[in-house]
């Protein structure tokens, strides 16, 4: 999957939890889920669960630890997809 396609998929996933529309409209690799999109930290679990379902992967605790921004999420998804 290209980076652009992956970012588009991530955009769809995070959309229901975003509190800052401006951050969402400018979403890119450097976007932070909490400080830029103002996603509630309890909803970050929902983002992670939705990513697991969408890509049919399992995100372990060590990966979850880094799941704070788009870039980390892309790296984790790509690693987990490659392991399949």
């Amino acid at each position: 999957m290209t980076n652009e396609a992956l970012i588009e998929k991530l955009k769809e996933i995070v959309k229901p939890y975003v509190k800052n529309e401006e951050g969402f409209n400018n979403l890119n690799e450097n976007t932070d889920f909490l400080s830029d999109l103002k996603i509630n930290s309890a909803n970050l679990v929902d983002v992670i669960l939705d990513i697991e379902t969408e890509f049919d992967i399992l995100i372990d605790n060590d990966s979850m630890e880094k799941m704070l921004n788009v870039k980390a999420a892309m790296e984790i998804i790509n690693t987990k997809l490659a392991e399949k």
């Binding site: 103002k38 309890a42 669960l49 605790n61």
Partner: protein, 192 residues
């Protein structure tokens, strides 16, 4: 080194479905899942444990730095209806929790340290758009610190460091740690 966290129960009920598959397992240890299962008010227990973890995380990162998402590793023990203990990386935090039907509010402080906060305040927010909320809370903090210490308001500002940890800046060389939390219609701060 204090941390705090507030959850608006009405908003939590609409924003989060903790009963969805995998949710509890990602956040809570087996013992904490038992607390929830055995509770006669599971919604309250979920958000009580969450605010305990989140407030301890804020206290920990204020002291040791870093930024990470490992709620499950902040291990909670409920001691009473209002008190608890959270352990992370062998660092112990004692927590105090206020539970009402509208909100749950926890404050975490290093265990065994008698260092009461200068000011503790929690209040109702007039609107919920995040940037208006932020400036409303900052004004409250400044007004409150002014009334307690007599520091002139125009010398006071709430600033965040590069990790997003807030301080009250008083003139050139004094930075006072302040913990801030808000969710839905409720907000709280402590000035240490």
């Amino acid at each position: 080194m204090t941390g705090n966290d507030i959850v608006d129960m009405r908003v939590a009920a609409t924003e989060s479905n903790w009963r969805r598959k995998g949710f509890l397992e990602k956040i809570f240890s087996l013992q904490e899942q038992e607390y929830i299962k055995d509770s006669c008010a599971p919604d309250e227990m979920v958000w009580k444990l969450w605010t305990m973890k989140e407030s301890a995380y804020k206290a920990y990162t204020r002291q040791f730095g870093g930024r990470f998402y490992t709620p499950q590793k902040f291990s909670c023990t409920v001691l009473s209806a209002t008190t608890g203990l959270v352990v992370f990386n062998n660092i112990y935090y004692q927590t105090n929790t206020i539970t009402t039907k509208n909100y749950i509010y926890s404050i975490a402080r290093p265990a065994g340290v008698e260092n009461p906060d200068l000011i503790n305040s929690y209040f109702y927010l007039p609107q919920t758009h995040y940037y208006k909320t932020q400036s409303f809370i900052y004004k409250k903090i400044i007004a409150c610190y002014n009334s307690v210490t007599g520091q002139i308001k125009k010398n006071l500002a709430v600033v965040k460091d590069k990790n997003g940890i807030p301080f009250l800046s008083c003139g050139i060389d004094l930075q006072v740690p302040v913990s801030i939390t808000h969710h839905g219609q409720f907000a709280a701060f402590t000035i240490h």
